[in-house]
Amino acid sequence: MPTDTERIQDLTEQEYKYGFYTDVETDSLPPGLNEDVIRLISAKKKEPDFLLQWRLKAYQHWLTMTEPKWPNVHYSPIDFQGIVYYSAPKRKEDGPQSLDEVDPELLETYKKLGIPLEEQGLLAGVAVDAVFDSVSVATTFKDKLGELGIIFCSFSEAVLEHPELIQKYLGSVVPHTDNFYAALNSAVFSDGTFCYIPEGVRCPMELSTYFRINARNTGQFERTLIIADKGSYVSYLEGCTAPMRDENQLHAAVVELVTHDDAQIKYSTIQNWYPGDDEGKGGIFNFVTKRGKCLGTNSKISWTQVETGSAITWKYPSVLLLGDNSTGEFYSVALTKKRQQADTGTKMIHVGKNTRSNVVSKGISAGHGQNTYRGLIKINKSATGARNYTQCDSMLIGDQCGAHTFPYIEIKNSTAHMEHEASTSKIGEDQMFYCQSRGLSAEDAVSMIVNGFCKEVLKELPMEFAVEANRLLSVSLEGSVG
């Protein structure tokens, strides 16, 4: 009879079900990066000159930078000249398309992923922007949202139709100089999603983007920009998958959020990129910069993430709390199994008075997974009456994995109120045996215990996706037992 530890080990080694590849004709650039490549990307997208200049500036800055070495992750050097920076499924004609014109092969791909792009489909209450490799292939419910003045479209489209908004906000939260990957993204980003919620509007449905990496050797560099004007509200979700491949693929996205007075953005991520195989071969390098700026008073930005995929995850969705009485939240579940590594957490920068932040992080390590929480809470001199609560829990499954915690706290105002709680637990033989002695299989027991552990975070997800996340967490641990 296998021991519990062995059994749990088995449970954590399960197949990746989104690993298929779609055979579509693509329009791709040869691998490599130089100014000409950037000019080509910009030209393909018919971008205004200001954007090309911005890209080139970012590229020049990127050349002066080196890859960050401080994350607690290990990988062989990335050959940035071996990456394809632009790959798009071929279109019959240029310009935005209606759903009927989208390649049926692509619609089928999204259907297989459980993301129907028909507006009458299963997710009828959710508007979807589908990004396939470097471009957005479809955006649903655009017209309906348009009636409320909400702009929800691909980034490329926004550049052409709302250049003034792009010029005003692009790089205003994550400047092109911010970090190595943000600079690279600024130079070569190809598509992504743009949302603008006008003053006083509460977005009536969930907005979402579904990212799919398909082509080989291709990097995905998307940009998401969401602006919530005064008194508005939006809940946004992104999901991600990729085919199984032996090589690593780079995904270096930038997400910028801006909230004005009394506005609120709730941003949720379910990240399930291909994690690589049992030996750690292949998988996505998910090096992402996500940051929100609470510009207005009483505004709020809330990040919720469920990170179950990628070979390496390196991301710190952060909030810059500028407006007085603004609130930043970060709820995270990060699951590493097989040879996955994650270094993730948040930064909460308190600048305005009476600003509040709330951080709940749940890290689960299984197999040979390594899971690091890294967080910075910074209270500036001006942030009188700031409050922060941080809770940081780690769970270990099996005895080959690791959990690490690096909390940084910088306080420059003596009125600040901080709380930090941390715990590490192990799915013990006791818990497993208790569940099993009530008739539950080892698989069900593990997924029940893990879901229970993550409950505080999962309850923050929009209803439509909480079920999906629950399923993903149990699937991720599902094994060959039985």
Binding site: F433, Y434, Q436, S437, I449
Partner: protein
């Protein structure tokens, strides 16, 4: 229903049970008593399938099949229930969700349909009322933040919902005040019937005032050294275990393996 023959069990290389024999028929209540470290809890854990307890020889036949061959969950699905001495906490998992999953796993084994949320709620309310439990316990995480007494009562409550064929109670009386003890005993007595058997492991005679056993066995150093009816428990209360240890043929204090 249950036939234990010459059972030897080691924990961490140390022999705890040394040739235990016990026969339990449907409808009977057997009480296992004995001094500290005699192997009472080991017996309970082994019957439920705890894997860190290694059976070195002997056999256990339950309802005609080899119990030791079954995984813990298969034992549970076939009607074995252990009320834990130290019930385990599962943070974030509601008692309702947990118990319904357990009940459905057992029903599936029996070829029955899953119980609907509404029916389950009805069942739970009925049982809670019988055990005078606060309904708020159902929405709380499994045993998380429960008092010692609440945890024990929760075990009896789970038992009454899952309706096992063979229930093993491991020192359910410890940590219960007298009122809670009476209620727990009542919960057991309500379930007594001709198709169900109980093994009640206890330290003290007190519980047996309320759950009157058909048989009382004294476990000493891994063997049953004396058996009798319920009056034996009273005798033990009066005389302690010393006289039985002396009476026992086997030397019990020595012979432990490192």
């Amino acid at each position: 229903m249950l036939e234990i023959k010459n059972l030897h069990v080691e924990v961490g290389g140390k022999e705890i049970l040394r040739g235990l024999n016990l026969s339990v028929k449907a409808g009977e209540v057997h009480s296992i008593m004995g001094p500290n470290g005699s192997g009472k809890s080991t017996l309970a854990q082994v019957l439920a399938g705890r894997e860190s307890y290694e059976v070195t020889s002997g056999e256990v036949i339950y309802e005609g099949q080899d119990l030791l061959d079954l995984s813990p969950e298969d034992r549970a699905r076939r009607g074995v229930f252990l009320a834990f001495q130290y019930p385990v906490e599962i943070p974030g998992v509601s008692n309702t969700y947990f118990l319904r999953a357990a009940l459905n796993a057992i029903r599936k084994e029996r070829g029955e349909e899953e119980v609907s949320a509404m029916d389950f709620l009805g069942l739970v309310r009925e049982k809670m009322a019988l055990l005078k439990m606060d309904e708020s316990l159902m929405s709380r995480p499994v045993n998380d933040g429960f008092s010692g007494g609440e945890k024990k009562r929760n075990e009896i409550f789970q038992m009454s919902v899952l309706e096992p064929h063979l229930a093993i109670l491991d020192e359910t009386d410890s940590g219960l005040d007298i009122d809670a003890l009476k209620i727990a005993a009542e919960g057991v007595n309500m379930l007594r019937g001709e198709n169900r058997a109980f093994i009640v492991v206890t330290h003290y005679q007190r519980l047996l005032n309320y759950i009157v056993p058909d048989f009382v066995h004294v476990l000493c150093a891994g063997q049953i050294v004396h058996s009798g009816d319920s009056t034996l428990a009273l005798e033990l209360e009066e005389k302690g275990y010393g006289w039985l240890e002396k009476e026992s043929a086997e030397p019990v204090a020595s012979g432990e393996r490192g």
